[in-house]
């Protein structure tokens, strides 16, 4: 039993924390959200070249820092504190996860370009009809000579406007919701037949509806194995959930700290509102939610390499706790800030918005409760 970080991990945290503090202050973030591009490719370069953090979870022989999921957790938590927009989750955690575990002809090269900051990725998995079922796919990749031809539409692909590559889930055989017959492909974002409709999301990111019309892919585009992609997708999605939990922890810690500060400063009836017991208890409940979320994020992160069932249970349990915490902490932060919390000008509202979106990403509380129930109680029930 050891919940301590290594010296390297502590250094990583310091590096990322300083970056967020110095280069990602609130005004900078506002400017990024409002800019035409919606992100800062130059800061991405800084992350790759000066900080070297884009290689955090990759082995040294691939050019990485030799870390793993714990390192992703550290980066994501610190990014959560500053509501960093740049696509670490989509690129390093998710695409990095697919390429590490799935292999494939292009994986070593692509990991190299992730670490170097040349490639950014978006995960095109959701479909308009599929909700949170990762296997519910109408996007198809049909055999075509030596390769495949991809057709379909993906919904709310976060980070797609910035991506050089897309990780796309598609049906290569079987029926629309069959577990078998799912394959993962890597697709250059500028491939012929890929069209996007870009838009901002409510939490300040960018996403796209992505359409694939007869996009030609070679067999080297496959990540993992043909027709048996679902276990890989589930594994990487669970890794994403753990990382997202860390981001939520960072965001919630900050929102909580802002709330305590505000309550101490804000005076009504001649006293700071922090002296009112009803608000004190609410801030205590926020604290407990954050601490429980930290614990569940650790637990889910440390169980990512266990058996499939253990990993899934851990990820779903964490997502349930984090989803509930995001709602309670976010809503309470606004309530205690009063009217000021409702303004676009104050940062706290933006933390609330990001926390709200994290609630739904990769499955709502209900979705993960159900997944947990099936795994934990399935046979008894």
């Amino acid at each position: 039993m050891d919940f301590n970080f290594t010296d390297e991990q502590n250094m990583l945290r310091d590096t990322v924390a300083k970056f967020v503090q110095n280069q990602y202050d609130w005004d900078s973030r506002r400017a990024i959200v409002k800019s035409a591009a919606g992100w800062r490719p130059d800061l991405w370069k800084v992350m790759a070249e000066e900080l070297g953090i884009l290689g955090a979870p990759f082995s040294e022989d691939l050019g990485g820092l030799g870390g793993g999921a714990v390192d992703n957790m550290i980066v994501m938590e610190e990014f959560g504190k500053g509501l960093v927009i740049e696509p670490y989750l989509g690129t390093v955690v998710i695409a990095g996860g697919f390429l590490k575990h799935g292999g494939g002809d292009q994986s070593a090269d692509l990991i190299g370009s992730i670490i170097g900051g040349e490639a950014t990725f978006a995960f095109a998995y959701a479909e308009p009809q599929g909700r949170y079922n990762l296997a519910d796919l109408t996007t198809t990749a049909k055999k075509d000579g030596a390769g495949f031809v991809l057709n379909g539409r993906k919904a709310v692909v976060v980070g797609a406007p910035w991506a050089s590559h897309l990780i796309v889930t598609a049906r290569t055989s079987g029926g629309q919701r069959d577990a078998k017959g799912v394959t993962v492909f890597v697709v250059p974002a500028d491939a012929a037949g890929v069209t996007r409709r870009d838009y901002p999301t409510v939490d300040g990111l960018r996403a796209s509806e992505v359409q694939f019309d007869n996009v030609k892919l070679g067999t080297d585009a496959i990540i993992g194995t043909l027709d048996n992609g679902l276990p890989l997708i589930e594994r990487v999605t669970d890794e994403a959930i753990a990382a997202l939990g860390a981001e939520a922890v960072g965001a919630m810690r900050t929102a909580h700290a802002m709330t305590i500060d505000y309550a101490r400063q804000r005076k009504q009836f001649g006293v700071p509102i922090s002296s009112f017991q009803v608000l004190q208890h609410r801030m205590v409940d926020m604290f407990m939610h954050v601490e429980q979320s930290v614990s569940m994020t650790y637990m889910a992160t440390l169980k990512l390499d266990e058996s499939d069932d253990e990993r899934k249970k851990a990820a779903s349990a964490a997502k349930v706790q984090i989803g509930k915490a995001c709602k309670f902490v976010g809503q309470s932060a606004i309530q205690i800030h009063g009217g000021m919390g409702m303004t676009d000008e104050l940062a706290v509202g933006h933390y609330f918005k990001r926390c709200t979106m994290i609630e739904g990403l990769f499955g709502s509380v209900d979705h993960h409760l159900r997944r947990y129930e099936t795994l934990s109680l399935g046979e008894a029930a």
Binding site: Y132, V158, T201, D203, Q268, Q335, G338, M342
Partner: protein, 397 residues
Amino acid sequence: MNLEFSAEDNAFRTEVRTFIEQNYPESLRAVQDEGEEMGKEDFLAWHRILANKGWVAPAWPTEYGGPGWTSVQRYIWSEECARADTVPILPFGINMVGPVIYTFGTPEQKAKFLPKTLSGDIWWCQGYSEPGAGSDLANLKTKAERDGDFYVVNGQKTWTTMAQHADWGFFLVRTDPTAKIQEGISFLLIDMKSPGVTVRPIITLGGEHEVNEVWLENVRVPVENRIFQENKGWTCAKFLLAHERTGIAGVARSKRGIDRIKSMARTESEDGTPLIRDSFFKRKIAELEIDLTSLEYTELRTLASESAGKGPGPESSLLKIKGTEIQQRITELALEAAGHYGMPFFRGFPEDGANLPIGPDAAHRTAPTYFNMRKTSIYGGSNEIQRNIISKMVLGL
């Protein structure tokens, strides 16, 4: 004890339902379906139709232009408006300052302001909250100093809803800085076009421009625009707050909100099963409906005692708390039902103005609406303050 409406009440329901069906402007329906922010004329279109019919101010006495409805009829009216999803009548003139003017105003003030408030020719805003006076409203600092037949007003108000459109505002100002905190306040009507009045927008979480800061710099206000006695404005303010809370339960609108969630849950599905058949989601809707039913019958009990001549008491705080909690819960469930399509934000973007919806219409703006509705447990006396009121006034604690 009887839960039935009388035959007269049912006939009344048919009458108002038919009127709405035949007179509600199609053009407004289109604006509402787009889910975009409404402009001044959008708000006023329905107001003017109702003003012509004599129905715009259901609670006003007939001598000032009210329709003379009973409280049950008013309840039926609000149900029918919600059922037809009509644009709400803005409360600032009709529900707030109007009753203050006909209760405390002089004959000249009534003649000057009430007809134009009814007709929609005066758009009102409410100058109450200040940066340092929110829940603690009596702590307000905006001061009005007497200079002959004028007050000279200086200060800053905030959270002033729709002030960007306002012709007139009703303001609480301090006229005696030496008196006890609630005793030196006066109630002034200020022409928003007066020199020295500046309105600055506050953009809120969903991207809306609903509220404003209002700055008052040496604004000269004729003494004749003061309602009631000097330094007795708190009496008007308390009267107004009690009126503001009636109808705040929003039962009828919430019923419609639940219907909307049900219809979303019929089309949104996971694993091919509509959300409406999902045991978790179904239960949440059922719980919400039961919560709303509890509120509905609590409100009906309140109405019954109002009909019996008792005014709205501190119990109305219960209606405010539960009403807003339910309104907020509805927006939570709508966002949840929207799934992935709760994420896109299309307002004001892209810059070329091609703001076409992404995803199903019902999912459109579920997240901004959820964010926006967080205000309801803050405004009109935060829900914490409402609980304090019940604790003190009802329970005697």
